[in-house]
Amino acid sequence: MNTLLSRANSLFAFTLSVMAALTLGCILTTAFKDRSAPVRLQVSRILLKKVEDFTGPRKRSDLGFITFHISADLEKTFDWNVKQLFLYLSAEYSTKSNAVNQVVLWDKILLRGENPKLDLKDVKSKYFFFDDGHGLKGNRNVTLTLSWQVIPIAGILPLVTGSGRVSVPFPDSYEIATTF
């Protein structure tokens, strides 16, 4: 019974060491890879309203509605150590009260095995685009970018921004839709 126990013990210890070495190998071989990809973004419609922010602080704030097109080929980003990509489209802009504002408008989980080529048209934002005040009205430069977080099977969690971006001006007045 003694040898059985010690055999089981060495087998268990060896299995753990092999798994650890494999995991380390997975991590090291993909740690420094470039995960970026070209992205094409287009905005088709913008509408600006002024509403009481019902998602949180109840003060009247600018609320934007953007419809956009996304096309990207993420096939090269997937490899043996990628479990999923968390994609998110965010708008970044600057206002008088806040130097940096970033709002995620849309996100998607792309699992390994799903179609990595995205070609989406007329996508409406998933999340309410409330500003912290009235900084969207007449804002000349609101930049949309598509980024993704690589979720590995084991290893680093890098955030990568796609190489295409689009900057749009917001209308000077409320309730008037601008189409592109």
Partner: protein
């Protein structure tokens, strides 16, 4: 065979085992403290113990399918790194013990660097405002415990099993004790 020397060799074996055990514990402690210094974070490794899922179905992961209970997350907390959307932050709500691991959805940063931000779990339908304190709409830098930079799956499963099934914990301890006794021969 002198019974005195038998007794002495048994004592040496026991002494050796105690020293061995002490070495393992102090090495683990050194690694833990070393990680604390390198990452600048209070809790450099967080075992994802419990995720809050806003729905009537039985509690499951709010960051699935990326992270599940039992995965190990590596955090850093370099305060100079600006908080940006898309990052996974580990934060604590005032008055609550358990840290939450969610993604940043929205940020508003002033010229002087003061930032307020909103979070949401990937698998949740709504943002985290329902989890924050009564009247709290934003998180700030002071609420952040660390930012997730890397992860290894399944490692914490033993901790979870021992937490959820105390009988399992006792069984493991019992088997360990049994093994030490048997091995000493």
């Amino acid at each position: 065979n002198n019974s005195g020397s038998d007794f002495f060799s048994l004592f040496l074996q026991l002494y050796y085992q105690v020293l061995n055990f002490g070495m393992i514990v102090s090495s683990a402690l050194m690694i833990w403290k070393g990680l604390m210094v390198i990452t600048g974070s209070e809790s450099p490794i967080v075992v994802v113990l419990r995720c809050i899922y806003l729905s009537v179905s039985p509690p499951s992961g709010s960051m699935e399918p990326a992270f599940h209970r039992g995965d190990l997350l590596f955090l850093t907390n370099r305060v100079e790194d600006p908080i940006r959307v898309g990052e996974i932050v580990v934060f604590r709500i005032e008055g609550r013990e358990i840290p939450i691991v969610h993604r940043v959805l929205k940020i508003h940063e002033k010229q002087n660097g003061h930032i307020k931000f909103l979070t949401k779990g990937d698998n949740n339908a709504v943002d985290d405002r329902g989890l924050y304190k009564q009247g709290q709409h934003w998180l700030e830098k002071k609420d952040v415990v660390g930012r997730a930079r890397g992860f290894v799956p399944y490692i914490g499963i033993v901790t979870i099993l021992m937490n959820d099934y105390p009988k399992f914990k006792y069984a493991v301890l019992f088997l360990l004790g049994l093994f030490v006794l048997v091995h000493r021969e």
